[in-house]
Amino acid sequence: DAGVTQSPTHLIKTRGQQVTLRCSPKSGHDTVSWYQQALGQGPQFIFQYYEEEERQRGNFPDRFSGHQFPNYSSELNVNALLLGDSALYLCASSRLGANYEQYFGPGTRLTVT
Protein backbone atom coordinates (compact mmCIF):
# COMPACT_ATOMS: atom_id res chain seq x y z
CA ASP A 1 0.00 0.00 0.00
CA ALA A 2 1.59 3.22 -1.16
CA GLY A 3 1.57 6.04 1.31
CA VAL A 4 1.18 9.69 0.42
CA THR A 5 3.19 10.61 -2.65
CA GLN A 6 4.18 14.05 -3.89
CA SER A 7 5.72 15.34 -7.07
CA PRO A 8 8.09 16.78 -7.94
CA THR A 9 10.61 16.32 -5.13
CA HIS A 10 12.48 19.52 -5.94
CA LEU A 11 11.63 22.57 -7.99
CA ILE A 12 13.40 25.82 -8.81
CA LYS A 13 11.37 28.78 -10.05
CA THR A 14 11.94 32.48 -10.66
CA ARG A 15 10.09 35.30 -8.91
CA GLY A 16 6.76 36.05 -10.57
CA GLN A 17 6.35 32.61 -12.04
CA GLN A 18 3.62 30.12 -11.23
CA VAL A 19 4.05 26.60 -9.84
CA THR A 20 1.88 23.49 -9.46
CA LEU A 21 2.62 20.80 -6.90
CA ARG A 22 0.89 17.43 -6.87
CA CYS A 23 -0.19 14.99 -4.18
CA SER A 24 -1.70 11.52 -4.19
CA PRO A 25 -3.28 10.49 -0.90
CA LYS A 26 -2.89 7.23 0.92
CA SER A 27 -5.26 4.52 -0.27
CA GLY A 28 -8.65 4.85 1.42
CA HIS A 29 -8.20 8.51 2.30
CA ASP A 30 -10.51 11.19 0.95
CA THR A 31 -9.19 14.38 2.55
CA VAL A 32 -6.01 16.23 1.59
CA SER A 33 -4.33 19.04 3.51
CA TRP A 34 -1.40 21.20 2.39
CA TYR A 35 1.26 22.73 4.61
CA GLN A 36 4.17 25.10 4.08
CA GLN A 37 7.33 24.47 6.11
CA ALA A 38 9.86 27.27 5.95
CA LEU A 39 13.44 26.48 6.89
CA GLY A 40 13.78 25.99 10.64
CA GLN A 41 10.05 26.32 11.25
CA GLY A 42 7.13 24.03 11.89
CA PRO A 43 4.65 23.34 9.10
CA GLN A 44 1.88 25.91 8.63
CA PHE A 45 -1.56 24.93 7.40
CA ILE A 46 -2.47 26.27 3.96
CA PHE A 47 -5.81 24.61 3.21
CA GLN A 48 -7.73 21.35 3.19
CA TYR A 49 -9.80 19.70 0.46
CA TYR A 50 -12.65 17.23 0.73
CA GLU A 51 -15.14 16.25 -1.96
CA GLU A 52 -13.29 18.50 -4.40
CA GLU A 53 -13.99 21.59 -2.31
CA GLU A 54 -11.83 23.71 -0.03
CA ARG A 55 -13.15 23.09 3.48
CA GLN A 56 -10.71 25.10 5.55
CA ARG A 57 -8.03 27.67 4.87
CA GLY A 58 -5.15 28.99 6.89
CA ASN A 59 -3.69 32.48 6.79
CA PHE A 60 -2.34 32.41 3.24
CA PRO A 61 -3.03 34.87 0.41
CA ASP A 62 -5.17 34.13 -2.60
CA ARG A 63 -2.01 33.48 -4.62
CA PHE A 64 -2.23 30.03 -3.06
CA SER A 65 -4.99 27.94 -4.57
CA GLY A 66 -5.76 24.29 -4.87
CA HIS A 67 -7.82 21.63 -6.45
CA GLN A 68 -8.95 18.12 -5.63
CA PHE A 69 -9.84 15.60 -8.29
CA PRO A 70 -12.48 12.85 -8.20
CA ASN A 71 -9.77 10.29 -7.40
CA TYR A 72 -8.93 12.40 -4.28
CA SER A 73 -5.53 13.52 -5.58
CA SER A 74 -4.79 17.19 -5.19
CA GLU A 75 -2.81 20.08 -6.61
CA LEU A 76 -1.41 23.16 -4.94
CA ASN A 77 -0.93 26.19 -7.19
CA VAL A 78 1.05 29.27 -6.27
CA ASN A 79 0.94 32.33 -8.52
CA ALA A 80 3.26 35.33 -8.69
CA LEU A 81 5.97 33.58 -6.72
CA LEU A 82 7.90 35.54 -4.11
CA LEU A 83 11.30 34.75 -2.63
CA GLY A 84 9.50 34.09 0.66
CA ASP A 85 7.56 31.23 -0.92
CA SER A 86 10.72 29.14 -0.84
CA ALA A 87 9.89 26.25 1.49
CA LEU A 88 9.10 22.58 1.82
CA TYR A 89 5.48 21.96 0.85
CA LEU A 90 3.89 19.01 2.58
CA CYS A 91 0.75 17.16 1.69
CA ALA A 92 -1.15 15.15 4.28
CA SER A 93 -4.07 12.81 3.76
CA SER A 94 -6.73 11.52 6.11
CA ARG A 95 -10.23 10.10 6.22
CA LEU A 96 -13.03 12.49 7.05
CA GLY A 97 -14.17 11.67 10.56
CA ALA A 98 -10.70 10.40 11.41
CA ASN A 99 -9.12 13.74 10.74
CA TYR A 100 -6.76 13.46 13.68
CA GLU A 101 -4.85 10.75 11.86
CA GLN A 102 -2.97 12.62 9.15
CA TYR A 103 -0.33 10.89 7.05
CA PHE A 104 2.32 13.10 5.48
CA GLY A 105 4.14 12.83 2.21
CA PRO A 106 7.88 13.50 1.82
CA GLY A 107 7.25 17.00 0.52
CA THR A 108 8.26 19.14 -2.43
CA ARG A 109 11.19 21.49 -1.91
CA LEU A 110 10.46 24.75 -3.76
CA THR A 111 13.23 27.27 -4.28
CA VAL A 112 12.34 30.70 -5.68
CA THR A 113 15.23 32.72 -7.09
Partner: protein
Protein backbone atom coordinates in the same frame (compact mmCIF):
# COMPACT_ATOMS: atom_id res chain seq x y z
CA UNK B 1 -6.86 30.37 19.79
CA UNK B 2 -4.89 27.18 19.39
CA UNK B 3 -1.13 27.23 19.69
CA UNK B 4 1.81 25.10 20.68
CA UNK B 5 5.03 26.10 22.41
CA UNK B 6 7.98 23.79 22.28
CA UNK B 7 10.14 24.97 25.12
CA UNK B 8 13.50 23.84 23.74
CA UNK B 9 14.69 24.42 20.20
CA UNK B 10 17.63 22.04 20.70
CA UNK B 11 18.13 19.11 23.07
CA UNK B 12 21.31 17.08 23.30
CA UNK B 13 21.54 13.77 25.18
CA UNK B 14 24.02 10.93 25.42
CA UNK B 15 23.10 7.58 23.96
CA UNK B 16 21.36 5.44 26.57
CA UNK B 17 20.19 8.37 28.70
CA UNK B 18 16.58 9.59 29.01
CA UNK B 19 14.99 11.98 26.55
CA UNK B 20 12.58 14.76 27.52
CA UNK B 21 11.10 17.08 24.89
CA UNK B 22 8.74 19.68 26.33
CA UNK B 23 5.50 20.95 24.83
CA UNK B 24 2.84 23.30 26.15
CA UNK B 25 -0.39 23.95 24.30
CA UNK B 26 -3.25 26.39 24.23
CA UNK B 27 -6.70 25.25 23.15
CA UNK B 28 -10.22 26.52 23.67
CA UNK B 29 -11.75 23.05 23.57
CA UNK B 30 -10.77 19.51 24.36
CA UNK B 31 -7.66 19.16 22.26
CA UNK B 32 -6.13 16.34 20.34
CA UNK B 33 -2.35 16.30 20.69
CA UNK B 34 0.33 14.64 18.62
CA UNK B 35 4.05 14.22 18.36
CA UNK B 36 5.59 13.85 14.90
CA UNK B 37 9.21 13.13 14.04
CA UNK B 38 11.00 14.36 10.92
CA UNK B 39 14.28 12.80 9.87
CA UNK B 40 16.42 14.68 7.34
CA UNK B 41 14.93 14.53 3.86
CA UNK B 42 12.08 12.38 5.12
CA UNK B 43 8.38 13.04 5.65
CA UNK B 44 6.72 13.57 9.00
CA UNK B 45 6.04 10.36 10.90
CA UNK B 46 3.45 10.10 13.65
CA UNK B 47 5.02 9.02 16.95
CA UNK B 48 1.91 9.07 19.12
CA UNK B 49 -1.42 10.80 19.63
CA UNK B 50 -3.75 11.78 22.46
CA UNK B 51 -7.45 12.01 21.60
CA UNK B 52 -9.26 12.12 24.99
CA UNK B 53 -8.61 8.56 26.03
CA UNK B 54 -5.85 7.51 28.46
CA UNK B 55 -3.67 10.43 29.50
CA UNK B 56 -0.46 8.40 29.25
CA UNK B 57 0.07 7.62 25.61
CA UNK B 58 2.56 5.11 24.28
CA UNK B 59 3.93 5.47 20.80
CA UNK B 60 6.39 3.88 18.46
CA UNK B 61 10.10 3.32 19.13
CA UNK B 62 9.68 3.45 22.91
CA UNK B 63 8.38 7.01 23.09
CA UNK B 64 5.54 8.06 25.35
CA UNK B 65 3.82 11.26 26.38
CA UNK B 66 1.54 12.33 29.20
CA UNK B 67 -1.37 14.71 28.76
CA UNK B 68 -1.62 17.02 31.77
CA UNK B 69 -4.63 19.28 31.45
CA UNK B 70 -3.88 21.28 34.60
CA UNK B 71 -0.43 22.15 33.24
CA UNK B 72 -1.53 22.31 29.57
CA UNK B 73 1.46 20.14 28.77
CA UNK B 74 2.17 17.14 26.58
CA UNK B 75 5.85 16.32 27.09
CA UNK B 76 7.52 13.55 25.10
CA UNK B 77 9.82 11.10 26.87
CA UNK B 78 11.91 8.04 26.17
CA UNK B 79 13.82 6.11 28.83
CA UNK B 80 16.93 5.46 26.75
CA UNK B 81 18.04 7.41 23.68
CA UNK B 82 19.28 5.65 20.59
CA UNK B 83 21.43 7.14 17.86
CA UNK B 84 18.57 6.69 15.41
CA UNK B 85 16.41 9.03 17.51
CA UNK B 86 18.36 12.05 16.28
CA UNK B 87 15.82 14.09 14.33
CA UNK B 88 13.43 17.06 14.49
CA UNK B 89 10.37 16.59 16.69
CA UNK B 90 7.12 18.52 16.36
CA UNK B 91 4.29 18.85 18.85
CA UNK B 92 0.88 19.42 17.26
CA UNK B 93 -2.51 20.49 18.63
CA UNK B 94 -5.91 20.38 16.99
CA UNK B 95 -9.50 20.61 18.14
CA UNK B 96 -13.03 20.65 16.83
CA UNK B 97 -13.30 24.43 17.15
CA UNK B 98 -10.97 24.75 14.18
CA UNK B 99 -12.28 21.75 12.30
CA UNK B 100 -9.39 19.65 13.52
CA UNK B 101 -6.86 21.88 11.77
CA UNK B 102 -3.31 21.04 12.83
CA UNK B 103 -1.18 23.67 14.61
CA UNK B 104 2.50 22.78 14.75
CA UNK B 105 5.12 23.93 17.19
CA UNK B 106 8.43 25.27 15.91
CA UNK B 107 10.16 21.98 16.54
CA UNK B 108 12.88 20.57 18.80
CA UNK B 109 16.08 19.26 17.28
CA UNK B 110 17.33 16.21 19.16
CA UNK B 111 21.01 15.34 19.03
CA UNK B 112 22.21 12.01 20.42
CA UNK B 113 25.86 11.86 21.42
CA UNK B 114 27.55 8.46 21.15
Amino acid sequence: AQSVTQLDSHVSVSEGTPVLLRCNYSSSYSPSLFWYVQHPNKGLQLLLKYTSAATLVKGINGFEAEFKKSETSFHLTKPSAHMSDAAEYFCVVSDQATGNQFYFGTGTSLTVIP
